[in-house]
Symmetry: C2
Subunit: 308 residues, 2 copies
């Protein structure tokens, strides 16, 4: 039995996975704020799998944690997990002694990529594009996460696709993330709301010019990221996940229209059949927690899932 | 002994490589036009290694051919090699019976990527960016060519980086190739010359406004391709090769300045240290022919150099 946790900014999703890869238990709980509270959340989530989901916790052999921050490769150190109020935390050192099993940690987008890949059948290659506050991708091929030389593989959000585009928080203009990141859209929209991007879509439907511009930019940015992933890494399929994808078909139809427009203009782009290669991760998918479980288990098996 | 040929639009570069990987003979000859003449060029180049470079042709075990066209994976079929006047040619079927050894064929940019990687020390990961008539890259990691799912990995030339940029021959606007491909620059410059891009640089130095714009676009396009390769695949190093790189330091200083400008604007880009990760393939490098030799030899050894 392996356990995986997706520690998000508001909620933590926990799954227990048996040796056949089947999810046999799942719980969600609120994520605490700050290093100590995040550590406590991890421990509480594992306990809750036993108490609330009937999982035999004595059978757990590994715990994997997906977390929205930078991970120091080969260690348990997390840094800059700003959405969790964590500047520095060795999550492995903080939790493994209490859990008594192997603990592994991975960036949440990379963990979700591994999970989405497993849910997709576990063969070929996939780019998992996370459209959340920011934009980043995880590339998985032959079951392995593509990390790259220095851990920045998949950072497609900071590729500029328009020198006259909006200023990105990274300092460049026209980054994919400046167009399509939920944080950038919310900031430019400037009105509070639970899911500002949904408000933007609604206002665009009602004809608001700024909302239409922002909505168009979202589709442009996501389509650009899909093209980058296919033209550079030539992944079989691009799976879209992350908070903004809660918009579902409303987002997908915009993105598909954008891809269709470039296919219309270009025989080369048409030959790539991008529209057929994009999928949406279903709402409520356990991909991120499942991927974290795979990461945790791989710590026991020579890191088979993650290579340089 | 293995032989590699880089069949270019005007010249064919041939090398013989001994079992230690050392180039023991090299000849260049003019490339014929059309399928039959290209076939004859391949045969003549192998003969010339014996007659002109003193290579013991009886010791040759394999011949690899790098060619500027689409290669049907796992076969010897080349298509759309427009610079050679070849629409369709099974170069393996046409030459192997005459040569009496294993023959392999690879796209010239991918072959050059393998060769550049070997010359660079043969470890880590590399993006080889070919800046020629068009723009394309080959990605090599752990000694293997990254092909992707459908053979389009590295086609970074057709990523648009400016919706208001020049029309690309592919039909999109603002593709990296539309900015930085030698063919696009020559077309927009509109004046004949042996190396139009050199004329553009000279005219830009003399203050010509169009030339300055084209020269600036070249640096922007190459810098964008470097960022795409590092942000998506996170290769250790990007090596620039291809006809346009004959401009040497004049090109490199422009590209470096462009990379420095984004590093100035963005702490994130600065952290990538892109300027330290870009290199120029030396003029006259045998990389492409050497890479072709590796491809030819790999046909005998389970395709160890090339995976899906």
């Amino acid at each position: 039995m392996k356990v995986g946790l997706d520690v998000g900014g508001t909620k933590t999703d926990a799954v227990a996975v048996d040796d056949s890869g089947t999810i046999v238990g799942r719980v969600r709980l609120a994520t605490g704020w700050g290093a100590d509270a995040v550590t406590a959340t991890v421990l509480a989530a594992v306990r809750a799998l036993g108490t609330d989901a009937g999982v035999d916790v004595s059978a757990i052999r590994s715990v994997g944690v997906g977390i929205p921050g930078q991970i120091d490769p080969g260690t348990g150190r997390v840094s800059h997990a700003v959405n969790l109020g964590v500047e520095e935390l060795d999550i492995v050192a903080a939790t493994a002694p209490h859990l008594g099993v192997t603990v592994g940690v991975e960036n949440d987008v990379k963990a979700a990529a591994l999970g989405a890949y497993a849910l997709h059948g576990g063969s070929g290659s996939m780019g998992y594009l996370n459209v959340g506050t920011g934009i980043a991708a995880g590339i998985v091929t032959d079951g392995r996460l593509w990390r790259g030389a220095r851990g920045t593989a998949g950072e497609v959000g900071h590729i500029s696709v328009d020198p006259n585009g909006p200023l990105c928080r990274c300092g460049q203009f026209g980054c994919i993330e400046a167009f399509a990141g939920g944080g950038s859209i919310a900031e430019r929209w400037g009105k509070a709301g639970a899911l500002p991007v949904r408000d933007v879509f609604d206002a665009a439907d009602a004809g608001d010019p700024l909302a239409r511009e922002l909505r168009g930019g979202l589709a442009r940015g996501v389509a650009a990221a899909i093209r980058v992933l296919v033209l550079t890494a030539d992944v079989d399929v691009v799976v879209l996940g992350g908070g903004v994808t809660a918009l579902g078909d409303r987002l997908m139809s915009d993105v598909t229209a954008e891809l269709a427009a470039s296919a219309e203009a270009s025989a080369f782009m048409r030959s790539l059949r991008l529209e057929d290669r994009v999928e949406l991760l279903p709402a409520g998918s356990p991909a991120a927690a499942l991927g974290a479980a795979l990461v945790g288990a791989s710590r026991d098996t020579e890191g088979a899932l993650a290579h340089g």
